[in-house]
């Protein structure tokens, strides 16, 4: 993925954020090499526009750089923080641009010739989460997908699905709670040193 030696590859995500907080640019580079691709994939899924997706990822990484000092590892994982920033930025943009759609995105996974390892790991994560999603009751999955990937607010969902807002809230809550059970606490851990 990267054209420079990943000299920080042995560090945890949280340690990288701490270094970024001390203005170490190599730490930001390493975080990008780890999460730039899922970040871009997510932004593209929400925004369905390559240029807007790039901007959203870029802005999210700028936020990471500028607010790394405020990251508190005890409150959650760095990967969660990063992807949450990307998602929030993408959702803000999609609402502003009025670009929301619900049809499936037809991007086939393009094999990245340089990183089969990366490819395999991403596919593994994808299958894992998709598998968990499939195990959710349809209505919960629908609510999660429309909210998270579609960028719809709960009120818009209620209207769209013709349900009381309380029902939508329950579906989202139960869906996320069930997803958590299905995925367990140890999801998405990775030994980064093996990827160099």
């Amino acid at each position: 993925m990267s054209d420079v030696t990943r000299e920080l590859a042995h560090l945890s995500d949280e340690a990288l954020v701490a270094l970024a907080a001390r203005a170490q640019e190599t730490a930001l580079a390493e975080l990008y090499d780890r999460y730039g691709r899922p970040a871009y994939g997510l932004a593209l899924r929400v925004l369905r526009d390559e240029s807007l997706a790039e901007d959203a990822v870029q802005e999210a990484f700028m936020t990471i750089w500028n607010t790394a000092q405020r990251f508190v590892p005890e409150k959650g994982k760095a990967s969660t923080w990063i992807l949450t920033l990307v998602h929030r930025r993408a959702v803000d943009v999609v609402r502003r641009e009025q670009r929301r759609r619900t049809e499936a995105l037809d991007t086939a996974a393009e094999p990245g010739g340089d990183a089969a390892d990366e490819e395999a790991w991403l596919r593994l994560q994808r299958e894992r989460v998709q598998d968990a999603l499939r195990q959710l009751p349809d209505q919960q999955r629908e609510a999660l997908e429309l909210a998270y990937y579609g960028g719809f607010t709960q009120s818009e969902l209620a209207e769209r699905l013709g349900q009381p807002i309380g029902t939508i809230k329950s579906r989202m809550f139960n869906g996320l709670a069930r997803l958590r059970e299905l995925l367990g606490d140890t999801t998405m851990e990775r030994n980064w040193t093996s990827t160099t």
């Binding site: 998602h87 709670a177 999801t187």
Partner: protein
């Protein structure tokens, strides 16, 4: 509206602005919601991994990380200019953003200018005349950050000025512009109430501005 039950929607970013503000206010003094939110946010972020992720264009990495340093053109006093090829999507109060090359230690000026601009204690003032901002540290050290400033024509340069309240413009360095973002650490401190401005001057700079300011910031 029971604010407690907005946690899942908040984790999914499915609240409108009003609801989001209400929930965040509530969060500040609801331990239970903070704990629940941490868990639900973790689950929501997992959804990010379920999508196909084609590799982002390599240029995106460069946009986020790459910077270039404009050669120093010091004359009468030390000053430093930096142009960072970086994002500046929303150069404005509080939302400015920059980063730079991952080649460490290439130019100390770089870090110094960034440190001032990124320091939460620095005052950020929007520019008039051009997109960008002025960041002034509590000590008066200042950095001009200008978005998409066209490169100065051949034989010309931009010159920065610090104009103390009621005083004459004082030279604060020259710079070339060009690139997505120009970042210039001013060569002199900015006292309270001063105006910072930039004009177009002949190469090498002049002792007093000869044209109207292209951009300015009132501190």
């Amino acid at each position: 509206m029971d604010v407690h039950d907005l946690t899942a929607a908040y984790a999914l970013h499915a609240l409108d602005e009003r609801e989001r503000a209400a929930y965040e206010a509530h969060l500040a003094h609801c331990e239970r919601c903070r704990e629940e939110l941490a868990q639900l946010t973790e689950s929501a972020a997992a959804l990010a991994w379920a999508v196909e992720s084609p590799p982002p264009p390599p240029a995106l990495r460069a946009r986020i990380l790459a910077g270039n340093v404009v050669p120093l053109r010091a004359r009468h006093r030390p000053w430093r200019a930096v142009a960072a090829v970086a994002a500046c999507a929303a150069v404005g109060l509080g939302i400015w953003s920059a980063t730079l090359s991952h080649s460490l230690g290439r130019e100390r000026a770089h870090s110094s200018a960034l440190a001032i601009a990124a320091d939460p204690a620095s005052r950020k003032i929007d520019l008039r005349g051009h997109a960008g901002m002025l960041a002034v540290s509590p000590h008066g050290d200042a950095v001009l950050v200008v978005s998409k400033l066209p490169a100065a024509p051949h034989g010309m340069t931009y010159e920065a000025w610090v104009i103390p309240a009621g005083g004459a413009p004082q030279r604060a360095g020259t710079f070339d512009g060009g690139g997505r973002m120009t970042m210039v650490e001013l060569g002199r401190a900015v006292p309270k109430g001063a105006t910072v401005a930039a004009t177009m001057e002949r190469d090498g700079g002049v002792d007093a501005p000869t044209s109207r300011p292209l951009l300015s910031a009132q501190t």
